[in-house]
């Protein structure tokens, strides 16, 4: 789920506890520090949920790739937040 703002949407979880939507491949310049912190929290919880699902349903290519995408974006966000 994404918030409705006139800029690259910030990822947020829905009822499933996961983030859904077309994630950006890099951290958008339009995101504020608050957006970055929000996105990091949401992605971390989404990844946790997805890993839990992998344990219940077994190893799965598409799901693993989605986890990698979310982890990749989260890593970029954390780097940006740390100023490196």
């Amino acid at each position: 789920m994404f918030n409705a703002r006139d800029k690259t949407p910030v990822p947020g979880r829905d009822e499933t506890g996961k983030v859904h939507g077309d994630l950006p491949g890099h951290v958008p310049g339009s995101w504020t520090k608050q957006d970055l912190e929000d996105a990091a929290g949401e992605l971390a919880k989404s990844i946790e949920r997805r890993v839990d699902e992998s344990l219940q349903l077994g190893e799965d290519g598409p799901h693993r790739r989605q986890i990698e995408l979310e982890r990749g974006l989260l890593t970029q966000i954390l780097k940006k937040l740390s100023g490196s």
Binding site: M1, F2, N3, A4, V10, G12, R13, D14, E15, T16, G17, H20, G21, D22, D38, G41, E42, K45, E53, Q56, L57, G58, D60, G61, P62, H63, R65, Q66
Partner: protein, 238 residues
């Protein structure tokens, strides 16, 4: 050729590749985000091929609210024998079903008596997090008398002292199905009153306890979530 035609052609090609056994689910999902109609996944759903059906279910679950566009296909996926397919189809019902999809939600709720405990507890999650209006639309489509009765009970639960007491008492009912509806009720109440879910989290029944502990974590995680993600507390009991 217009951009729409190119997107449509790429999407059709990816469906063909999935039917041929290529693992391109993620590429097809990206194509749907770019405009390819999700309902075109009916070719995968009706293929009779396990891997294609699994891909359709996974993509449906990843669509979030856009799974509404392929709810007919999701309804078919709910009848699939595979745990993986049922699990993700149930998730698509949770995010995409509307009051127009009562029959499909009813089919999802009826899976509460499925022999697979992972599927059963996924249904409890659906019962815990769906809007009252969605569950109400499903009532008349549930054939099993006990399940229909329990669904009506769940929909009627409010955060009153009487209902809270009723939910807590039902958490230790001898009938496992009653306990599952009770823990779903406890989860729905948790945004107003955490006591029933906390009681469930110390249940003598392991599956009730495990579900309740996870659901407590889930409810707590919304307290610090950004405002646009806070949908559950405002709609589950409305």
């Amino acid at each position: 050729m217009s951009e729409h035609d190119v997107n449509s052609q790429r999407g059709d090609d990816l469906v063909d590749r999935l039917l041929a056994g290529d693992d391109v689910s993620h590429d097809l999902l990206k194509e749907i985000w770019a405009g390819y109609p999700a309902s075109n996944l009916y070719r995968l759903v009706k293929s009779g091929q396990q891997e294609a059906e699994k891909a359709a279910a996974w993509i449906a679950s990843e669509l979030g609210y856009r799974s509404t566009e392929m709810m007919s296909e999701v309804g078919l996926l709910l009848t699939n024998p595979l745990r993986y397919v049922k699990y993700y189809a149930l998730e698509a019902v949770l995010t995409g079903a509307t009051v127009e999809n009562g029959a499909i939600v009813g089919r999802a709720v009826a899976l509460i008596d499925n022999p697979d405990n992972v599927v059963r507890w996924k249904v409890v999650e659906l019962l815990s997090r769906s809007a009252n209006a969605i569950l109400a639309a499903a009532q008349s489509h549930v054939d099993d008398v006990q399940i229909r009765h329990l669904l009506a009970w769940l929909i009627g639960i409010r955060a009153t002292p009487h209902d809270v007491e009723d939910v807590v008492a039902s958490l230790s009912h001898a009938d496992a199905q009653v306990r599952m509806f009770a823990v779903a009720a406890a989860a729905r109440l948790a945004y107003d009153n955490r006591v029933p879910l906390q009681e469930a989290a110390t249940s003598e029944y392991d599956d009730v306890k495990t579900f309740a502990q996870k659901e407590l974590d889930f409810v707590d995680s919304w307290r610090t979530a950004p405002s646009w993600t806070r949908r559950l507390s405002s709609h589950v009991l409305e």
